[in-house]
């Protein structure tokens, strides 16, 4: 047994010194094979996939809790091509408005999401005039001329009177 192990290590040593480039290339290929292995693609079979799924559903909207369910209800309650104005407090572009506006266009695709704020935090009142609906996350700003259609803990939806 000991002789056999000794013989094999001699063979490896000889191969390395006889063909150093070949050995280096084989080592490089070995590192590529090992380094490419992604254990997550095996772990996923044994993980709690339902919990992971629940996480996936809310993950892209996590900074505005309740935003996705609210917009899903808006989707059900508004017709295609409706102009839906969006309000996200505190009404600052870089503090949630941009985040909500960009995602709302996907969540209620087919409707035209009308921004009420520009990147310099100016309120766009003319856009509110164009809107058929107003959706507000976690607030009830009480804009005149709109009738409440939906009120949930996540916000409300109102239709222009």
């Amino acid at each position: 047994m000991g002789t056999s192990v000794q013989f094999r290590s001699d063979q490896i040593r000889s191969a390395i010194f006889t063909h150093p480039k070949r050995t280096a290339v084989a080592l490089g290929l070995f590192l590529m094979i090992v380094g490419s292995f992604e254990p997550f693609y095996v772990r996923i079979f044994f993980s709690d996939r339902d919990a992971l799924r629940r996480l996936y559903v809310e993950l892209p909207y996590r900074k505005l809790p309740g935003f996705r369910p609210l917009l899903s209800r808006v989707r059900e309650l508004t017709p295609l091509h409706a102009k839906v104005a969006l309000w996200v407090p505190p009404g600052r572009w870089n503090e949630g408005y941009e985040y909500g506006y960009y995602r709302s266009v996907y969540l209620i695709a087919g409707r035209e999401v009308v921004p009420l704020l520009d990147a310099a935090d100016h309120f766009l009142s003319s856009n509110l005039d164009q809107a058929d609906y107003l959706v507000c996350w976690h607030c009830n700003p009480g804009f005149a001329g709109f009738k409440t259609v939906l009120r949930t803990p996540d916000g409300f939806l109102a239709r222009k009177r």
């Binding site: 290929l29 590192l31 590529m32 090992v34 490419s36 559903v57 695709a109 009308v114 921004p115």
Partner: protein, 438 residues
């Protein structure tokens, strides 16, 4: 799920007929992988055509156009003399089968991960998915949506092959569902791996080697960015490079056209695909000179051309091209520290893989320089385009690196990994020994 699977299988069927007509000399793996990629592009291109002529989208209309293209190519091919197969009868080995099974397990793991729930990537929600869903509800490309300044954040100028492919799946299913889109991405990865497996086997004559080489490419081929254009770009761009490299080695002019077809589809997927076409043309010139075979690359230019013209007509601008590009480059060149800090700060992913790749590259480069001139020139020029994009960014350099560096670099890892693995063949199978390359 069933609708998505049936849509993918139908596209695969059409694509295999198309690929076997275009590459009759190729082995089954190369035909199957290329067929899947071509097959998916068919109905998406049909939807593009329907939008241009103003016909509302429907599955039968897209299907008829796709079948007409397949039938036409098939009939043309039948009139040409039969080709001789280049695939070699490799020795079947249990070891290769076991390694392939491990690869299949990892691909199935990827399928499980990518279809476990809705797509979570912001770029899907804000760019690729939102366009596809809007077009689906509109029944065609919604130019008003793309042109509106409020939708500038969706990068309206980006090529639209991917959203149109999502729309094909939605039409087949009859509704929008972003959960099963993951299957599409698994298909892109699996198709690329099939082509790599076939090409490595063809070149080395060893099943075990090609199975190991394919295993090493799994992470590079299966894009973790589900729903983003990286998946199809890696597939179309990577397989395009592999097929052109193979065509140059075999002096197969028609192979150049098939490779160029895939590069044209890469250019229809993402702006980086357009720069890849330029890089690949220069790569072919570096390999064969200004030879008349260059004309064979025509699909790489013709395929993305309609979108380039249409986005110009509709004034859809690229954010990197806004303002004074040269002054930004000049400014950033004067801040090399910031640039280099950003490169080193954000990871490339998989350090061990890169160490191995670098080791093979350094040792095997000198003898491979001539043989790999096309692929290495193409990939090097593409990397230069990336550097140019970061130098010309209108956003902060660090911000741009933070949000895209690892993802952008991943676009070329699959073809680069393939070429580097192929570079090991002359060392591991020296001429005269069993399994030496042709």
């Amino acid at each position: 799920m069933i609708g998505t699977v049936l849509a993918l299988l139908s596209a695969f069927g059409c694509g295999v007929i198309l690929a076997s007509a275009l590459m009759p000399e190729s082995g089954v793996r190369i035909v199957a992988g290329t067929g899947f990629l071509l097959g998916l592009a068919l109905p998406a291109s049909a939807l593009f055509l329907l939008s241009i002529v103003g016909v509302p989208w429907s599955l039968p209309a897209a299907g008829i156009i796709s079948l007409a293209v397949v039938g036409m190519v098939f009939l043309i091919r039948r009139r040409l003399p039969p080709a001789v197969s280049q695939s070699r009868d490799a020795h079947h080995s249990i070891a290769a089968i076991l390694i392939d099974l491990l690869s299949v397990v990892l691909v199935l793991g990827y399928v499980t991960f990518s279809t476990n729930g809705p797509v979570i990537e912001y770029d899907f929600i804000g760019i690729w998915g939102v366009k596809a869903w809007t077009f689906f509800l509109h029944g065609g490309i919604d130019w008003k949506f793309l042109e509106h300044p409020w939708r500038a954040f969706t990068h309206a100028d980006y090529p639209i092959l991917l959203p149109l492919t999502f729309d094909y799946l939605a039409l087949a299913r009859g509704a929008w569902d972003d959960r099963w889109i993951g299957l599409l991405f698994a298909g892109y990865g699996a198709a690329s791996l099939l082509v790599a497996r076939g090409a490595l086997e063809e070149e080395s004559g060893s099943q075990v080697f090609s199975a190991l080489g394919t295993f090493a490419l799994i992470s590079a081929a299966l894009s973790p960015y589900i729903g983003l254009a990286e998946g199809p770009l890696i597939a179309y761009g990577g397989v395009g490079i592999i097929l052109i490299r193979r065509a140059i080695a075999l002096e197969d002019s028609s192979g150049l056209t098939t490779g160029a077809l895939l590069l044209g589809l890469a250019a229809s997927t993402k702006n980086e695909g357009m720069t890849l076409v330029v890089a690949a043309i220069l790569g072919v010139v570096a390999a064969i000179g200004f030879d008349r075979r260059l004309v064979r690359l025509w699909p790489a230019i013709v395929i993305p051309l309609p979108w380039v013209l249409l986005r110009s007509v509709h004034s859809l601008h690229n954010d990197l091209a806004t303002g004074s590009v040269l002054s930004r480059i000049w400014l950033h060149l004067h801040e090399p520290g910031l640039f280099l800090r950003s490169i080193t700060r954000y990871p490339l992913g998989r350090p061990l893989f890169w160490v191995g790749l670098l080791l093979v590259f350094l040792v095997a480069l000198p003898p491979a320089l001539k043989r790999e001139r096309f692929a290495l020139t193409t990939i090097a020029i593409q990397y230069l385009f990336y550097v140019f994009a970061y130098l010309s960014t209108p956003h902060g350099v660090d911000w741009h690196f933070k949000w895209s560096w690892e993802r952008v670099i991943s676009q070329m890892t699959f073809p680069l990994g393939f070429v580097v693995i192929a570079m090991t063949i002359p060392f591991l199978f020296p001429k005269g020994e069993a399994g030496s390359p042709p």
